[in-house]
Symmetry: C2
Subunit: 405 residues, 2 copies
Amino acid sequence: MKALGLIVEYNPFHNGHAYHLQASQEKTNADIVICVMSGYFLQRGEPALLPRRERTEMALRGGADLVVELPYIFSSQHASWFAKGAVSILHHLGAGVVCFGSEHGQIDPFLQLADFLDQNEHAYNHHVKQFINEGYSYPKAASLAFRALSPDTSLPDLTQPNNILGYHYIRSIRELKSNMKPETIARHTAGYHETQISQASIASATSIRRSLINHQQTPEDIKHTIPSTTKHIMQAYESSGNDYFHWEQYFPLLQAKVLTLPVSFLAQIYEAQEGLEHRFSSHIKLHNNFHAFMEAFKTKRYTWTRLQRFAVQLLTGTTKAEAQTALQPEQADHIRILGMNEKGQSYLNHIKKQMEIPVYTKMPREKTPQQTLDERACLAYYSRLTPKERTAKWKEEYQLPPVRL
Amino acid sequence: MKALGLIVEYNPFHNGHAYHLQASQEKTNADIVICVMSGYFLQRGEPALLPRRERTEMALRGGADLVVELPYIFSSQHASWFAKGAVSILHHLGAGVVCFGSEHGQIDPFLQLADFLDQNEHAYNHHVKQFINEGYSYPKAASLAFRALSPDTSLPDLTQPNNILGYHYIRSIRELKSNMKPETIARHTAGYHETQISQASIASATSIRRSLINHQQTPEDIKHTIPSTTKHIMQAYESSGNDYFHWEQYFPLLQAKVLTLPVSFLAQIYEAQEGLEHRFSSHIKLHNNFHAFMEAFKTKRYTWTRLQRFAVQLLTGTTKAEAQTALQPEQADHIRILGMNEKGQSYLNHIKKQMEIPVYTKMPREKTPQQTLDERACLAYYSRLTPKERTAKWKEEYQLPPVRL
């Protein structure tokens, strides 16, 4: 059985994702599709629009056979750690191939790119440092450093977000010495940063989230951009009285938490560097909402994404010491099953015996270092609900079985 | 000018307080009345029903000439620290006499009690330890230890809360080697722990708070228990759209904060002892409101008051290290003026030159260790408001002058 691995957020699952899933399956002739999906907090430092359960069901209805969780410590991180976590899970689950979407769309130039950066590692790192000293953010410095090496124009452009992720997936496969084959297909979508939803059937997840949250549109209003299965899941979610998760809802808690802890505590939070904790604490006192705070705070060095990721670490209370322990294996220390269909279930039964890391369907009492942080991510994610709603949701972590189709 | 010092909470200022103020003034023939008042969080570990400003005005309208703040680090503490902070402030303000309310009502037996406990210090401490080892809370162990010494029945009974405070005021005066004279008058009120308001004109502050919060009564409903000045201040407070501060409002934030910090952080919070932080964190997850949480949590050893005080330290994020630094002088490191009338103002001008600790009318940028914690208490106190309301209130700390009558 040939297993295809996909690394996803599905925030929410839309037509672009459906296209990518199908096209990847066709390209790789896979018998089974495994998705490793971020849980509660996503790569750019945002809470997931809907809880994992709903997003898992969207994935299964959209063609996935098995959905597993990317542990929290990898999910709200820059591309390098994000890739290590996700690739290691697909490797342990026996995926023969991982197929990522990229702006470039051809796999061979990615492999050449990885070789090129291996050969020029010293010069590359030197340039990165130089640009950081000039006050650029890490992602900007990395992309300027790449250009400074005058790469062949046939290589993927490392200023594009999905090319960057793709490159890191390949690096992680090599570091793991995995036999997993990388593959890519061109992203068939609006640009990642595009925010306006159009009449086209493929819109960015960002524009979909904005339509739902800022413009209070309904799933019916955006139905041309999402599969009907996604639409039905969202409608059921809404009609049960739930609303979508976004940063503004967390601002009152984030503000209160940051201002009622000593700065010496904040300095121990993961990603607190260069006095960021002092600036964060003095700025957040002045603003009434997350957007205004971020707009006033972001600089050339502290990008919106960097600040959001730090805000997530503050919200979950993840310390440098905890992150170090959780990241020490440089890969996932467990696999959490979020959902499966029959095919996924039988695949899982088949490979379970040869798994090198433990597999869980619920949160256990005795936790691995990564699970300790997964639980805090869950506690933080639901913290914006009322205490009564929270306690119900927290219990589900320990009680509810995976979604089954 | 003979200055009388009173140590108060005025939560809120009621007929019993008015009686105590007048009777103390008559008994001591004082020219001026100075009140040192707890700020945002009170001795039994509760948020003040109304902000300092309103309670300051109540005090001034009720006969006080000068109202100053008891710094946070002394205000939510057991009697010994509470007394050290309050007595040191009255001493620095040149009060010639401090007059406290007590169940006993005679000063000489209090002085004899202090001598008696000095003489029996060793045996007393031995008994306290023994009872604590048997699982009693500190206050219970202290009162059992006192009884075990078979004190003369003429001595004040140290199982009564106001007698305990009185004893500690006398100890603090002696430790400071202050010339301030202690005086006491019998409390003319309902018992401190009484919760039902009656038709009598003197009711406990607890029963008044309960009437306003739990039974949603209006200041008009309880007018027989409070001076008309207090009633008018409360009515103005309510009609400006404000509501009273109480623990249930803080529960969502407290719960979220405790559960989204590593237990290693909680262990560094002041008053975290004997693994209290672990128990606190695992219990608070299970409950929807403060009352249910406390009811389920309290034990023979962990009294309601002890738990509430720890909850206050968690809410303000006060660490053991910060408390140690702030308590190191064993007295107030500054005086904050909350309000005054003309007489209070001229008294203050008169004694200002000979003051040994700095006097402030607003929160300064450069803070003493105690002021750093005062500011966090303010941030924590208003944290239950919306971010917009919070930022307005926080600014007042730095901007508004004292209340003047």
